[in-house]
Symmetry: D2
Subunit: 348 residues, 4 copies
Amino acid sequence: MYFASDNWAGAAPQIIDALTHEARRFGGAYGTSEIDHEAEALFSEIFERDVAVFFVATGTAANSIALTALNKPGGAVFCHSFSHIEVDECGAVEFQSGGARLIPLPGNLGKFSAADLAGAIEPFSPEVVHGGQPMAVSITQATEVGTTYSISEIKALSEVAKANGIPLHMDGARFANALIDLDVSAAEMSWQAGVDVLSFGATKNGCLAAEAIVFFDREMAAQAPYLRMRAGHLFSKMRFVSAQFEAYFRGGLWLELAAHSNAMADQLREAVAGSNRARLAWPTTTNEVFIAMPAPAAEEMRKQGAQFHNWSFSEDFQANGNEVLVRLVTSFATEPDHVERFAELLNG
Amino acid sequence: MYFASDNWAGAAPQIIDALTHEARRFGGAYGTSEIDHEAEALFSEIFERDVAVFFVATGTAANSIALTALNKPGGAVFCHSFSHIEVDECGAVEFQSGGARLIPLPGNLGKFSAADLAGAIEPFSPEVVHGGQPMAVSITQATEVGTTYSISEIKALSEVAKANGIPLHMDGARFANALIDLDVSAAEMSWQAGVDVLSFGATKNGCLAAEAIVFFDREMAAQAPYLRMRAGHLFSKMRFVSAQFEAYFRGGLWLELAAHSNAMADQLREAVAGSNRARLAWPTTTNEVFIAMPAPAAEEMRKQGAQFHNWSFSEDFQANGNEVLVRLVTSFATEPDHVERFAELLNG
Amino acid sequence: MYFASDNWAGAAPQIIDALTHEARRFGGAYGTSEIDHEAEALFSEIFERDVAVFFVATGTAANSIALTALNKPGGAVFCHSFSHIEVDECGAVEFQSGGARLIPLPGNLGKFSAADLAGAIEPFSPEVVHGGQPMAVSITQATEVGTTYSISEIKALSEVAKANGIPLHMDGARFANALIDLDVSAAEMSWQAGVDVLSFGATKNGCLAAEAIVFFDREMAAQAPYLRMRAGHLFSKMRFVSAQFEAYFRGGLWLELAAHSNAMADQLREAVAGSNRARLAWPTTTNEVFIAMPAPAAEEMRKQGAQFHNWSFSEDFQANGNEVLVRLVTSFATEPDHVERFAELLNG
Amino acid sequence: MYFASDNWAGAAPQIIDALTHEARRFGGAYGTSEIDHEAEALFSEIFERDVAVFFVATGTAANSIALTALNKPGGAVFCHSFSHIEVDECGAVEFQSGGARLIPLPGNLGKFSAADLAGAIEPFSPEVVHGGQPMAVSITQATEVGTTYSISEIKALSEVAKANGIPLHMDGARFANALIDLDVSAAEMSWQAGVDVLSFGATKNGCLAAEAIVFFDREMAAQAPYLRMRAGHLFSKMRFVSAQFEAYFRGGLWLELAAHSNAMADQLREAVAGSNRARLAWPTTTNEVFIAMPAPAAEEMRKQGAQFHNWSFSEDFQANGNEVLVRLVTSFATEPDHVERFAELLNG
């Protein structure tokens, strides 16, 4: 019963097959093979627009290089206080950009509002160099707490960003799960809603290691080839990343995998709703489920083989008595009978 | 006939098998799985010493993070003027370290001498802050031009480094090929010869993407976990890198692959020696062969399907007439009949 | 009536005299003259301990280079949310350190408590590289809002810092004003209270531009000469900074100047206490006075020639009706009759 | 007999007078006073064109911030191998820019040619991200070895730079001395000859500490306010730098001071020409004179009170027997009788 994280999963068989095929042949290095160009072209197809795309090793690399492409001296990036770049990337954005600052914003359910964003940008003034300057807005979709921004929420944030002359970045480590939830197209959830740069994650959803930075405006990407190279993120055997993406998109595999993942989470949510020992800490709609249960029950379930992490973000949650907050994450690899077994255990 | 580079090769079947196995199961993320610990432990076994090891995405990442672990403000890294960090990494060391400088040294056959190193360090003085300070020495083994430093040459360089209070880094992108050439142990060619930090490359020699930074002194590695993380080089599904290393070392696969690669280069060298249209530009002993041949002959061979790059480093080489300098690289995947076919073409 | 800031003042005559004297002679550059050594030695005398001292151009340089000397990758600096490094230095610490992060803490009257500090450090764990690592604590003395930390408050913060293995930095842009307020020695308010590194400001208190980084532990300063040089803060004619410090300390001038400044603020505080149009926004004890008054009254006083800034920090202050929050800063150069005139205007 | 460096001199009386005047009054901080605007406007007047100008503490700050304004990831700056940024600034450009690289070019008399520049830029290709990208050309005027680029030489370098899409930076630490030598206007020696950004030095020529970055194209300066601030180079009491520049330019003082300095060097050159113990190592035309003399003679002169440094740059110089290479620098403050005394000693 693996619910610790979606990066505890292995890789989808189709992905491995693609690697196996690729391993047997020769090809140009550093992204010059035909399959590299094909994989890049697939992004333009998926997003229904010409995009500039750069593959990198990790989501942290994608986020930090994407934001560095938008860098300004004394620059401030507005993000949620729960965001991965703020909480979990060891200062990668600050480092990669040579000193940009993150301005964490509060907000319910892992999201901040356009009004809060406007309020945070407002004190910055071009007259006062001391305070630095706004540089970008970054949102996570799906959020770190299992929710999603609606299309209109993204548009509202984008409008505030544009009104202040700064671009909107989206950390899409779980982009596919959000897409399934909202039932919209990749274009609708990104550039059509005002997103300028996207960290597109595929690792969590069935790949081994395949992350991409997608620029919807090629001009913003002008320096990206150098930013990636100097950061050590240009793979020599890039073909093995491209092959993952090619298999990931082929026949809509990526959406299938995410749909399964979300469906498994739906079953977990149902199980919790029907349980008298646990309750949903807040409503989620993707592949993360946050539940409150008595600490002893959580320990007991761990002893029975359930793997999950306790969680500490708490603005959206008030514990009762001896409750602990627990995060459950499903993935493309989650097995239905594991969910069933978990549900059984949950009911004691 | 793929001789353009060893990173044009795919991956060894044993490596792919290991990935396939790993893909089917769940495991802790970010290097916390059993296989991660096993792979790390294998390094200590291979090097006959407790080492601290950090897996990263590329050789450029390995080199630049390794040297950043040795960083000093105003720091100078002494390296060969042909070295990968100087020529081919887009300023990665300078960037990652926040401004360290490379001091390129000349030297025949891709190697600089202990005397030249001493001469380059000598002008630096702790009294004169303006000039900065020595920070590290970096050598490449095997070198960028197909040669190797002998053990005594490495020791001599290490002694100069130590006498000046700075560590010795080795860029081992082709570590295995050098090992086969010198017929020594990994320990003998690294820490026993005075190497403090090693960029250990496995990608070129049969992996998909598997590079490691090996610290022979754990204290030097104290900040390495953070240096790697902030650079976006800590894989979430680290298991897929660890599995490559595990398969790479198992049963001495890595040495077998490198031995094959070097043997193929031997055959190329023989073919060139027996050719009346080409000559060896300088002697090499690993999996790179540099040859001079008339430009039209090179073009003709390309038309026949031979893939290789022209080369521009010239201190060791004087062209006659219309000769071009050509680099041929063999790999674990080089097929003997390709070498034979190339040899035939070479003789016109 | 100049109350906009203490950096609107000119320079004390004794300081100018010293420069005039120095201008007429020759001397070694880059801090090698006798007067440079004398000025450095004076710091050891004033602080009753051997210190390593580095002169730089600005307070921002002092703060950012001081903290960079304590730098760690993924490093976090704990500071007050009002602190100059957080609010007013355009990301200088983040830039100079190559990506360190500031963790702003709330706290009444511009101060945070030892308990709040401990709470902020607590989530960091060496097991979890993602969150980065604690690197330093930074406090401002006197604070940005006119108050001072007591010696025991500093000691308590230092104990928390030490318990967590990180040093304590003090931004002493108004060090002398705090010293006068607390009536203690420079040693008592710095290293004896647990301060490891001090940004010592003299510019605001009568110099033209004279700031120093004082390390109470020479080992922490090992890289400081290079950090300063690469940042462009080693003056060629350093003698002109050293001469300022020499005159600043000679005969206790610095304490005299600060005593005058604080006394002028006392008179302002008295005037406000006796006014029926204004009230103290919160109690201050150094050369900054924060008052609340009706917006029209503030405008009227500006028309009468009073110079001061509105202020926005508000956790410590609740406005009534149409009140604005106003900051008044006195300096060594504040003229008593300006204070009197201001007091008269204040009473309408 | 102070010939060690022009930064061993004090400051011109007119400069000190200006500071004394400024010290007695109040004024807006951080460059907002009237005198700040006046000083900035003077630059536009002197250069006969609207310029964006930024005052900083040191020449190293000017050079490194100027070049950082032109920064590109993986960027390469082409400069002379003798240049201050390469030899004497502790990696300031590399640090400030977050990793730009200096490409040192050889060239007689401290100058490199347009042809050498073109040859150095040529290998860079936008197709090959590994090598980085050209970012700027930097020349020093007057050079580090007492010579000057002619206007046509500067134009030729600028043309090569422009043809490659990169700007031309001039390190004008001794700008005034070069101007006197060439007998041209500031405009002619800068933007009219193709210079895009200038580090304008006044410290060596009579100020205490007054350096400026001059952008001839305001667009290039767009980020400069933030680059300066985050580097800790925005003085709070900027008025004291502005006042120096105001006095420096008033009535052509700066040209007078430089003319004196060059004239003193002329006398030294004459003395050497007439000496049988020394010879000019190479011809110079500004305020630096490089001479060869027997080591014992140099030591003897030092014992007699002559202050000067030995020099090590040697491409332009071949020592005979026991000769040492010695650098003599004159300044605005050099006293004629010191030159005479030196001349006497020189003749033994």
